[in-house]
Structure formats: structure tokens, C-alpha cells
Amino acid sequence: MEIQQLLSKYMLEISKVRDEKSLYTAVSEILKKIVSFSVLNVFNQNNLVFSEPEGQHIEKEIFSDYLPWIEQRLYPTFLPLENGYIGLIPVFKANKLLSTIVIETTEEPTAEVVDYIQLLSYLSGITLENLRLIDFVDKAREYFESIINLSNDGIVVLNELKEIEFTNSKAKDNLKDNTELLREIIDRIENNEEFFEVETHKSFFSISVKQVNLLGEKKVLVNIRNITSEKEVQKLKELDKIKTNFIANISHELRTPLAAIKAYVETMLNMPMSQEEIHEFLDVVYSQSIRLEELLSDLLDFSQLESHTMKILKESVNICEIIEHSIETLENMAKEKDVTVEYNCSNLEIKCDRKRIEQVIVNLLSNAIKFSDQAKEKRFVRIDVLDEGEIVKIIVEDNGIGIPESAFDKIFERFYRVDNELTYAVPGTGLGLAIVKEIVELHEGNILVESEVGKYTKFIVTLPKN
């Protein structure tokens, strides 16, 4: 066989090679053209890894003492037997033996055969080394890919056109479950934001964005972390803190009327008093008892709020009567604070829980009085009732101290007080508006707030007539 033929054959066979086994099949095919052999075995570190024909072994004792010698020498060799030869062909790269091909042949090798075999052992050494390198690189890639896909964080790579180039498994899940997430992230990236949080309808995500250079091209690396449970824990912690505040708050609230009642009754018991004085004192005791009752009923409502067991009993009532009654209830308080209470209502029947709606009005009204602005010359609260067909709107407006816009959502939360500290400047449990909201919502209505600090506050309660 000519050298060109050998090389062409080698190129052809080697192009089919995908793994070590197919390399040996190819080498075996090429070797057949150089020297006829009955059996071919391949050893990798003393282990038989390939046989041609399959399952045929050359007795190892015949040549095993030559294997370390071959490893050192790295030349093909032929051991003469009684009626043939054992050929030992090292497959190697530079100084390193990669495997050893062993053949059994009856043919006496010529100088040319040995030359060709030497060439083959060099070429297949290079191929084998490359195969092992590819295998190594493949495994390394698989290793890193697994790590990336096992990560709890979603990883996304975007190109300069903000198109997705890569997503790991987690990111795929995140984007699939939250369809609006990608759009939101891209918008924020275009806003040059690097760290931000995105809330979707079901989850909370913390996103970090990094401009990176991957293989010479500009990319955007996006890290998506689902922090829904962290957010929940955070909320619970906040709630816990609020509850602690609440307990301190409510204790104080309960103690104040109780202390007053105790002191007045004590005085009455120990001091000779006129009938007029006794009446005056009992008045105070009575109003403080009312205050205590209110607080306790708030607490009761609150526990119903917590367990969502509050029930309403609807009946046909005149809304104006409720408002008049509420204003009467708070008459003293309004007088004390020097607040004028006006109302505007024309007879209007709606179906609602009389007691509960009165509670709503009293609460809104007492807040309006409580938070009146002492700096203003004239203080007022006005209640308007608007008949709007299917619905009725009750608007409670004052010119009090107002509520900052940032607190609009929070004032309806349980325990929340705008001052939020134990200052007790204004008494209250922080439960009122939460209860109001619950009641309004149980009536399938809603409550909105409009306000400007230092100017006014306006609560708008919308209720269906039926």
C-alpha cells in the first residue's frame, strides 16, 4: 500500500470516529490494509477495552512483560512466536502512552510495515488525545451546566437587542409562571436599574442586572431570585412588631378610663359630696365606662377580623338616622375639641347592618374630630350622603391635620397608626379603620381616602343600596 493511500484511508476512517471505541474500529480497519492479523486487542492501563473480532483475546502472558517496556520505548514492536508474531503498537502523544494495540499475525513484518505502523501509532495518538480532550471538555461543560441548572436562582443572558440568549432551568420556570416578569425586567433594564424588586400576581422577585462581556460581545446577565417566602417572613416579622406595639398601646388605652373610674369612685366613697357633685362625678364614670366598652368591642371586632368570622345582619334603615345618631353620640367630643359637625342628608333607605354602619360612621367621625387641626381657627367635619342610583356615597370630610399620601394604603391595615410610635398624643387602638374597611367590604362596598397634609382628609364610603 502506498503512503497516500494509507493517509486517505486514515482520513476517511477517522472522520467517522466519535469515541474511543469507534477510533479502535477505524484503526483496526486501517491496520488490516497494512498487515493481516487474526486478533486485535486494545489495552488501556492494563485493561482490555477493545477486541476484533469481538470477544477474541490474545493470551496476555505471551507479551505482558513487554507492556511496561513499550510504554517506556514508545516504538511498535513484534515478538516472534513459533508460528507468527505478536505486534505491540503503542498509541501515544509526546511522552505519554494512551493505549496499547496488540495484534496476532502470521505475517513477518517488513521494514515498510513497521514504518506504516509507526505512522499509524502517531496519528491515532493525536486523534485519541483529542477525543479524550473533547470528552473531558464535554464532562466539564456538563458539570457546570448542572450547577447552573440546579441553582435556586434564575439566570438569564440577554443580547444587545434584549432578546433571550440563555436561560437556566430556574429562569425558564420563573418566566413561564410569571408571564409579565420578563417585560418588567426589560423595562427596568432600559431604565438603567441594576438592583430592583418585581412583584407579579403571585410572587416577589429580587433582580440583579450586570452588563457583561461574553466572548467579546456585550450581554446582559440577569439574576432572578424568588423572594416570595422571604417577603412573607418579613411581613410576619413586621406584623409581630406591630402586635407588640398594639398590646402596649391597648394596655395604655384600657388603663386610662379604668384609672379615671377608680379615682372618681374612690373620691365619692371617701369624701362627703353634694348631690350635684356626685352627679358630675358619675357622669365622668359613665363616659369612661362607655370608652372602656368601646375599646372592648373594638377588641372583639378585631378578633372577628382576625378569624374572618364577622357577620352582618342586613335590614332596611334610613341612612340619615344613622348619621344623626352618630353625630349625637359624639356631640360631647366635638364640643370638647371645638369642632363643628355639619351634615347633609335627605331621607334615604338602604339595606345594611344598622349597628355596623353606625360603627363605621362613628369611627370616621371620631377620627375626624380626634385629628382636627388645633392650629386652625375654624375646625369642621362635614358628612355628605349622595344618592347615586344603585349605590350610595357617604363622604366624611374635615379640615384636620391630613394624612401623608405614603400612608394611604397602610391606614386600613390592622394596628397601623400614622404616628406609629408610642406617643399617645392621640388615643386609639389602631384598629378602627381596619374594622371599618372590613365592615364596608362585608357590605360589598368600598372605602377610599383623599387627603393633603395640613389641609384636609376625605373618606368616601360607597355602599350598594341593596
Binding site: 513487554y66 517496556w69 516504538y75 514492536t77 516472534p80 502523544k93 513477518e108 517488513t110 521494514a111 509507526q118
Partner: protein, 290 residues
């Protein structure tokens, strides 16, 4: 006068006999079989004994002793057997006459360079290691020729090299005589060695003289082996001083200068294993201590 021109005309220089000539041509014939090569070598009974002795030396470290030449040829290879036959011839040519030069030392330089050449080829993954071995063995035959023709001159030349601590070939350049490289090339041509061995003998001190030579890789390997041989056995080549290292080797062989250090350690191991070949017994012309 031109020493080169004398090579083919004077009788002081031994020529390979018919058998050695045949071995050279036989081993270069691709279709030769082990039996045919064995037949040629066996014509000289002494030669086959000497070759078998070399084959069984510690350098080849064979797991089993080889007793038949035909076995040696298939086990150790056609070309290696050819190399051994030629080393027997070179050894005897070198020891054919007593001069002022220590021929054992010069021989150790020849053999060390041959062994180092083969090892460097192995280390960098160069395929034709047997050819490189032979080229290393033959690289300094020019010194042999000069010694046989003008023993006093080469003795003095070596002394100047030692006194000035300067490699011999640089002094030869300065004097303007035919260098031992040129003479060696001429001798190999005369001995009918293939052209590559002639080129390598000419380029072995400074391969960059002809960077376009088709045999530049082998020339660089032998050059590097020659440098290491002079480091391991200083003065044995009759040349002294810091060996000249041609920078072209790094580019041609694709190695970094830092590689030379690891190479030095590799060669140290090989050197210790092949002492029987390098420091052969004086009486025994195979060079194998028995």
C-alpha cells in the same frame, strides 16, 4: 588548502566496508524483511555478536534477553539495528589510530548526543526518532576526519578552545579554515549517507545558517542534544566554553526556553540509564562494558 577535498582521496580515513554499506542501503529499503537484513549482517560474524550485545544493554532494558539477530530486528526495529551496526562501525573508525585525542571521550560525546537526540525527539513528539539518533551519532564525524588527517592541528585547536573557553567552531570560523561541520558533511557524503545526515552534520552547531533546510527540525534537535551533551560531558567533544545555543530551536521545535529545564531532568535520567553505551570499555569495540 581545503581539507574537505582531501576526504575522498586520502587513505587514512576508514570507509564503511561492503557489509556496512549494504546495511545502510538495506535498512533504507522499505521492502526489506527481517530475514534479509539478518542475512546481510550475519556475513560479518563479529558484527552480529556486537549488535546483540548492544541490543541487550541496559539502555534498551529489554524484559527478555535476545539471542537471535532476526528477533532483535523485529523487536527493537530495523532502523535501530541499522543504527547499532553503524555505531559499531563508527566506534571502530574512531579507535582505528592512536592520536593526541582521547577517543573514548570523543565517543562518549557521539553516543550521548545520539541518545539525547532520540530522547528530545520523543519528548517533543517528533516521529523519526531512529533517524535523529543516527544523525546525532554522526554529527561530529568531521572531528574524527580532522583528527585522522591532522592530529596535531585538532589537538592544538582543542587546547585553544579550552584556554579561551570558547566553542571550537567559533575558533574555526575566526581562523577561516574548513570547519569540522563542513568536513563531517563531506565525509558522510563520501560514505554515501542520505542527504539529511549530511545537512545535519553541517548545521548542527548553528541551524539558523539555513533555516529553510528541509531537515531543519532534525538539525535543531541534534543541535540541542549537542548543547546538552557538552553540558553533561564538558570537554569530551574537544570543544570548551559555554555551549552556543541557537535561538532558532525554540521557534522550529515549538518549545519555550523554560522547557529546557524539564528537558535537562529528562536527559539526566536517560544519561544515567545509558552509561554502558556512552562509556564503553576500551578493549571492546562495541563499547559495552561486560
Amino acid at each position: 588548502m581545503m581539507i574537505k577535498e582531501m576526504i575522498s582521496t586520502v587513505t587514512e580515513i576508514p570507509t564503511p566496508d561492503v557489509i556496512v554499506q549494504q546495511i545502510i542501503s538495506t535498512a533504507s529499503n522499505p521492502n526489506v524483511s527481517a530475514k534479509e537484513l539478518e542475512k546481510v549482517i550475519s556475513m560479518d560474524v563479529g558484527l552480529s555478536t556486537k549488535i546483540l550485545k548492544l541490543v541487550n544493554s541496559a539502555y534498551y532494558a529489554l524484559p527478555r534477553k535476545i539471542t537471535k539477530l532476526s528477533e532483535a530486528i523485529v523487536i527493537i526495529g530495523f532502523k535501530t539495528v541499522r543504527n547499532l551496526a553503524l555505531s559499531v562501525f563508527t566506534y571502530s573508525a574512531l579507535h582505528s589510530k592512536t592520536t593526541f585525542v582521547d577517543h573514548d571521550k570523543l565517543w562518549s560525546h557521539f553516543m550521548a548526543t545520539a541518545i539525547f537526540s532520540e530522547q528530545i525527539a520523543k519528548s517533543i513528539g517528533y516521529m523519526n526518532r531512529e533517524e535523529v539518533f543516527l544523525a546525532g551519532l554522526m554529527h561530529d564525524v568531521g572531528k574524527l576526519a580532522v583528527d585522522l588527517l591532522f592530529p596535531m592541528y585538532i589537538f592544538e585547536l582543542s587546547k585553544v578552545s579550552r584556554d579561551l573557553s570558547k566553542p571550537m567552531f567559533l575558533i574555526e570560523y575566526e581562523i577561516g579554515v574548513d570547519t569540522h561541520m563542513e568536513i563531517g558533511g563531506e565525509l558522510l557524503r563520501h560514505w554515501k549517507f542520505p542527504e539529511e545526515y549530511v545537512s545535519i552534520a553541517i548545521l548542527h552547531e548553528k541551524p539558523s545558517l539555513n533555516p529553510d533546510s528541509p531537515y531543519i527540525e532534525m538539525s535543531c534537535i541534534v543541535h540541542l542534544a549537542n548543547v546538552f551533551s557538552n553540558i553533561f560531558l564538558p570537554g569530551n567533544s574537544l570543544s570548551y566554553g559555554k555551549p552556543y545555543l541557537d535561538q532558532v530551536v525554540f521557534k522550529v521545535l515549538g518549545i519555550k526556553p523554560s522547557r529546557l529545564e524539564t528537558m535537562y531532568h529528562e536527559l539526566e535520567i536517560v544519561f544515567n540509564k545509558s552509561k554502558d553505551l556512552i562509556f564503553g570499555g576500551v578493549e571492546d569495540e562495541t563499547g559495552v562494558q561486560t
